[in-house]
Each structure stands twice: as C-alpha cells, then as structure tokens.
C-alpha cells in the first residue's frame, strides 16, 4: 500500500462543528491533496463531498471529521470527552507549512519548552528532561509516554506560579496526539489537550488544538488565546525544520534520551507504513547528514 492509500484509511478533522457556515454557504478546504466541500443542508445536516462524491462524516470532539475511505478505521477514543464537568475548548486552526507528522512530533516534545515557549511552558535553567517511559500499547496500537515531568513557569491559563508538571502522551493515530497534564487547580484530575491534524498535503497541515479542562475562571477567549499563542510559537519552529517531511531514517537526525517519544513515534509510523508526510531514505534528501549517535 502506498503512503496516500495508507493515509486514506483514517478520519481527519476538517472544521469546528460550531463554525460551519449556514446554508447556502459552504466551506472549501483540502485533505490529502484533494479538494473537499463542507455543506450544512437546510435541515442542518452536514455533508462533505469531493468531486460530487459524498464522504463519510463523524461529529465528535467538537469537530467535523471525514475520511476518503468507505470503511475507515474506527476513530480513536478520548474517554474524557464524556466527562460533562469538563470544559471543551476547540481552539481554532493554525495553518503550518510542514509535514503533518512534524506537527505531531513537536507536540510530543518537551525539551523545547524553555526555548520556544520561554517563561510560559518552560524557562532556563530548568531545562533537564528526567527519564520517562515510552511504550507501544499493543491492544490499542498506540504510542504512550508516561512519567514525563517538566518544570513549567505558567503551565496553563489558570496557573499563577511555576510547578513541576506531569504529563502522559498518547498517539492514537498517526496525525492525532493527546496529552494529559497536571491540572493547576486540582490534584485529582488531569487536563486534556489534543492536537488533531488535517493533512492538506504532505508538506502543509491545518492543526486543530482541542482542550478538555477543569478551569472555571478563565474565559473561553482567554483559553483560546493562550493555546493560540503556544501554537504560533511552535509554528515558527515547524516551518523552519529541514527537510519539511519527517525523516524516518535514523541516520538523518540525532536523538537523545529526551527524544524517546519521538523515536518510538517514528518507528511506529514506519512499522505500520504510515509514510504520508515522511521521508524514508536518506537518498530522498541529499542534505541528510551521516552523523549518527545512538540514544544513550
């Protein structure tokens, strides 16, 4: 199966449910290099079409999802979406000129917090990444990173002082990732932040951040603004990584122990043939260095 055919088996977010235009206006967008049109019928029912052909749709996690496949893999589960006392915050969309896989990998990365999200998610000299664990959950076929800890000066909109934040990361499908982190206001629950990535093509994506939080104080606008700021900072990185696609050849980039999640994610992608937005061989990219250092 080629990279595109593989990618076609999944569900992808294409809009926030609440902001789909009303009849007769439509929203046009792209998915996996194909033009699609989102329509809200007179009776309110939604549809997604590519070249006159209707695709399956799914309304979940505050977004409209679609798939080019007639028999897509089931959409991943976020059990916290059932917890009605959480606040669900779709944060809008950020267009990034990078591989959808690079966007996900960056979301799984904590070592950049002090440098990219300076004084918000991290700050010098608190740069150390303590050992953590990464596993592949064979039942769910997900990448899971646990016991991730990092010092954060302002972990969320509701945080006033620095705290050591605990994280768990899940990658339930190649272009979606979810993190669970210490809730600054309560110890018994965790905040949920996800990114749902819409692959426009192999080198462009729309990132839809989504949150399910326990935060009664901040306004919706404040929470969205906070998350948008974070993602705009990430974008300045993502649009300047070379090559644009995610290299899966271990010789092309040099990971360390802090990058265990990224290593597992890349291996997991390669093993399952999720190569849309990936570079398989160094020869695809003559600039690849031949340096190689095993993660110590």
């Amino acid at each position: 199966m080629n990279a595109l055919d593989h990618a076609k088996q999944y569900w992808y977010p294409v809009a926030i449910l609440d902001s789909i235009p009303t009849y007769p206006d439509v929203k046009n967008t792209r998915l996996l290099g194909m033009d699609i049109t989102i329509t809200r019928q007179k009776d309110g029912a939604l549809s997604v079409a590519h070249n006159e052909e209707n695709w399956l749709i799914n309304e979940v996690y505050d977004h409209l999802w679609t798939s080019p496949s007639k028999t897509p893999k089931p959409i991943f589960d976020v059990p916290e979406a059932q917890e009605r006392d959480r606040r669900f915050v779709p944060c809008g969309v950020v267009r990034v000129r990078c591989s959808p896989l690079r966007a996900v990998e960056n979301f799984l990365d904590i070592a950049h917090f002090p440098f990219v999200h300076t004084d918000i998610l991290g700050s010098e000299p608190h740069t150390e990444v303590a050992p953590y664990s990464v596993d592949i959950d064979d039942d769910k076929d997900e990448v899971i990173a646990t016991k991730v800890k990092f010092f954060q000066p302002q972990a969320a909109k509701s945080a006033s002082d620095g705290i050591i934040t605990d994280y768990v990361y899940r990658v339930p499908s190649p272009m979606n990732a979810i993190l669970y982190k210490t809730c600054p206001t309560r110890d018994d629950v965790q905040d949920v932040i996800a990114i749902f990535v819409q692959p426009i093509d192999e080198e462009t994506c729309d990132v839809w951040p989504w949150m399910a939080l326990y935060d009664d104080d901040s306004t919706m606008a404040e929470m969205i603004e906070f998350q948008q700021l974070i993602f705009l900072q990430d974008r300045s990185i993502l649009e300047n990584q070379v090559p644009t696609k995610l290299p899966l050849d271990p010789k092309m980039e040099i990971p360390t122990r802090a990058d265990l999640t990224s290593i597992a994610y890349r291996r997991w992608l390669k093993r399952r043939g999720a190569l849309y937005g990936a570079l398989l061989n160094t020869t695809d990219n003559p600039k690849g260095t031949s340096n190689s250092v095993a993660a110590e």
């Binding site: 070592a111 440098f115 150390e128 070379v242 990971p255 360390t256 990058d259």
Partner: protein
C-alpha cells in the same frame, strides 16, 4: 564561484547570526561574542531546525529549538535536556570556510578556495536585495543613465571584472564603485556595494540612493517582462 561575498562585515556585529545562500547551499553565518566568524550548513543535526534562527551564547551558537550549543568547530558541546552529559564528539554541524576581506564576508562551499580578489582600501556602502533575477538586474545596470549618480554624467565606465564582481568608475569625479553580486534564487539576488576609501560622505550617500533607484528600476522592469 569559489568565494562568494555574502554580506558586509559591518552588518554582522559580534554575537549576531544571519542566513546566507551560496548556490543551492543554505547557510548560517554567525560571529561569536569575541568576534570569531563561522559559516555552516543551516541545519541543526538534532532535529533539522535552521540554525540561522539560533542565538549566540558567548563563543557558541545555540539552536533555538532545544538549545543545543555548538562551538566554533561546529561540535555540539552542550545539550540542555541533559546538562550533565558530555555530548559525543561526533555531533557536528557541517562547516564551510569563511573569511573576511575588504569589508566583506566571504564563504566558499568548495573544498579548494582561493583568496577573494578585492582591493583592501574600500569603504562599505550597503548590501541591497533585489526581487528579480540577477541577469535582469545586470542588464538594467548596463543600460543605466549615470546622471543619477553624479549630475554631470562625467564619463562613467563599467568594468565587468568577473561574473559576480563589477567596477563602475567615473574618472573625472574620482569615484569607483565596486559591486559584488550574490545570487539567492532564480527570482532574487543581492548586491554588496563598496566605494574607494577616499570617497566623500555625500557621494557615498548619493550612491546608496542610486542603488535604491536601481532596485526600483530593475524590479519594475522585471515585472513588465514577466507580465
């Protein structure tokens, strides 16, 4: 094109970083706090971030993504995620040779490089970017009406010393203008301009304005050609 002029020395003070292009090669050019100049492949070996977005920490260049430090030999010396770790010597960015002569920064991406040929006694005017192909720009300069540099149009000549180095001379007015061309892409290029060291300040200013004028002419001319 062994040595290519990529900028004016005075435009890269100590502790600063810039991006440069030579041929197909994307480069980071930076100067340490003490003034050591380096030119490397513009790519961090860790996760591919463009090093030209990085920042100088003393004698090291730090990548903006995860803060890895590279010393002047382009060897990684510090990984902030593992402060106690001494990074293996094999983690290196790719280096190119760089030098300074005549007020310009020169980079060679070829193994063998010859000394840049440039007179020593020059004064930098400015670097200026053009949104047009280098060929188009050169043609505009060849067709130039020189009254815009000196009102009296006093005997200007252009010597095309090489593909990327031209000299424009006015014998009467005792001005020599040295132009170093740098190709950036098919649609963009740069000129680094210098003048003879005894050139008067107001003439320098005029020449700087003349370059601006050339930029408008060349970009407009090119727009007309493509549309």
């Amino acid at each position: 094109m062994t040595n290519v002029a990529v900028g004016l020395s005075k435009d890269l003070p100590n502790g600063r970083v810039m991006r440069a292009i030579v041929g197909e090669q994307d480069l980071v050019v930076w100067r340490s706090k003490s003034g050591v100049l380096s030119a490397w492949d513009n790519r961090c070996p860790h996760r591919g971030m463009r090093l030209s977005h990085g920042f100088v920490r003393g004698e090291a260049l730090a990548c903006v993504y995860h803060g890895w430090h590279y010393d002047k030999t382009a060897t990684c010396r510090y990984i902030p995620a593992h402060p106690e770790l001494e990074p293996p010597e094999t983690i290196k960015a790719q280096r190119f040779s760089s030098t300074e002569k005549g007020g310009l920064i020169w980079v060679s991406i070829e193994e063998q490089s010859t000394e840049p040929s440039i007179p020593d006694n020059l004064k930098a005017i400015r670097s200026i970017s053009f949104a047009c192909p280098m060929m188009a720009l050169k043609q505009v300069i060849r067709d130039l009406d020189f009254t815009l540099v000196k009102d009296d149009n006093s005997g200007w000549v252009i010597q095309e010393k090489s593909d990327d180095q031209w000299m424009m001379k006015s014998i009467k007015a005792n001005i020599s203008l040295h132009l170093f061309f740098q190709n950036l892409s098919e649609q963009t290029c740069k000129i680094h301009a210098l003048a003879n060291s005894d050139c008067a300040p107001d003439t320098m200013k005029k020449m700087s304005q003349a370059l601006e004028h050339i930029r408008r002419l060349a970009e407009k001319h090119y727009e007309v050609v493509v549309s």
